[in-house]
């Protein structure tokens, strides 16, 4: 598929160097985060609640500035160069699905005809062509999330940030959306940072897993996942998948015990 980490001498697509975040109340959300992401990678960031996974995404998106360290790009992203999918669908309830998906193009003042064409194409790709005129409240949770993904991709971003996007969905819907997301990734060659607390989901999707340790949030392990693409249901019963899940789970359990962690609880 030509995707996966691309070892080269060029600067990485995205690099975090010693990024730390301390809030005014003294809470240290991130401590010395350094990681490089290659173009076209599908990176899973796995960890318990409150370990700073989402904070990393917010830094990369430019919504938060780091207290220390910096974030470097091989080419700084233009407006619309980053798409983001939140844990909630985060749709405008007063706008039809097509208008929600067109929002990033409207904000960038893309001509209406061109924008409508792109929205229609993308809605077809995520299977919502028949619901362009619907309002968000008329859709199921899974369909709303599809609309949210369509909106994130409508600007043809080079980087897609996903913050536990499927955590609130039922298992069957989640697996279907996992497969559809992999298909879109295979077609469109964007880079993905995918935050999840599910080891199984992270391993199923990603070519690399970053395991986070909590309080303060830091990187505990960086595990390559050498499972072949394209991936499908068969992988879920594959021994290599089980082994990879076990490896990431052990790293996660180890992260919870690692120093700097104030209690044995995972809940935040």
């Amino acid at each position: 598929m030509g995707q996966g980490p691309a070892p080269s001498l060029e600067p990485p697509f995205l690099e975090l160097r010693g990024v730390s975040k301390r809030y005014p109340n003294g809470t240290v959300a991130l401590s010395d985060i350094s990681m490089a992401v290659g173009e076209g990678e599908f990176l899973a960031i796995v960890g318990a609640s409150g370990c700073g996974k989402s904070t990393i995404l917010r830094h990369v998106a430019g919504l938060v500035a780091p207290s220390a360290g910096d974030i470097r790009w091989s080419r700084p992203p233009a407006a619309g160069g980053i798409g983001m999918v939140f844990q909630e669908p985060t749709l405008m309830p007063w706008a039809r699905i097509q208008d929600n998906v067109r929002l990033p193009l409207d904000l960038a003042k893309v001509p209406r005809v061109e924008a409508d064409a792109r929205v229609a194409a993308l809605l077809a790709q995520v299977g919502l062509a028949d619901f362009a005129q619907a309002y968000p409240r008329e859709l199921s949770g899974g369909m709303k999330m599809r609309a949210s993904i369509a909106r994130a991709l409508v600007t043809r971003p080079r980087l897609l940030l996903m913050d536990e996007p499927f955590a609130a969905l039922d298992e069957i819907t989640r697996q279907k959306l996992n497969d559809d997301l992999l298909a879109l990734w295979g077609e469109q060659c964007f880079t993905v940072l995918f935050v999840t607390h599910s080891v199984y989901e992270g391993v199923y999707l990603a070519n690399r897993a970053i395991v986070m340790a909590p309080r303060p949030g830091r990187i505990h392990a960086d595990i390559p996942l050498d499972l072949p693409y394209p991936r499908d249901e068969a992988l879920r019963t594959d021994a290599r998948y089980a082994a990879a899940c076990r490896q990431v789970s052990l790293a996660l359990a180890d992260a919870m015990r690692s120093p700097g962690h104030s209690s044995g609880e995972t809940a935040a």
Partner: protein, 259 residues
Amino acid sequence: MSALRRLAPMILGVIVLAAWEGGVRLLAIPAFVLPPPSAVMAALLADPDTLGLSLWFTLAVTLQAFALAVAGGVALAILFTRSPLLASALYPYAVILQVTPVMAIAPLLLVWVGYERVDLAQLILAWIVAFFPILGNTTLGLRSADAGLRDLFRLYGASKWQVLWRLELPSALPYLLAGMKISGGLALIGAVVAEFVAGSGTGSGLAWRIVDASNRLNTPRMFAALALLSLLGIAIFAVLSLVQRLALRRWHDSEAANR
């Protein structure tokens, strides 16, 4: 809703009116104490031009004050949410204006605008009472825009104007409409209060008709003017409820859930 439940208020109304009519006749209560409904209707039909003109006058003042209250309330709410400094400077005074009973401000206002300009006093008083629910609700609505959507607008580099127009104002719409429903009734109160306090022949709205009829002990005419005021209040509330339903029915839980 069953037909019976829909008709229940009307049936009760008819029963109460019939009991009222019958009771007044049976006990021979004088009309200046409590006129029977038939006498109220007769008073209404005896002078439809004067009462109709008064109805129109009260309606016009109320609607003008309401429109100004909506425009001013929304504009000030937008300013408040842009400038916290301005908000903290002005907000206490807006509250003072709100909590001071409008009845108590009316005499002062009449001194200022002059007793010959009761209509202007009506407009200002109606505006004062109608303004605050619009300001309060719209400010709350503008601030309650979804935090995730705010992040999204920032991610795409939206201008302040785009955030206001595409995110904050639509978020505030349900709050604004709820505020308008309250303000509509308050504007009518403001329009009535000024005429009552003026108490002179310079007013020409329904409130003055009540004062005038009261001075002459023409109780049936008082009831007639009162009934028209009630109808006006009901009409304002019904129209604003309809606007609310039409604006929100496709997307907002408060209205969509009732479908």
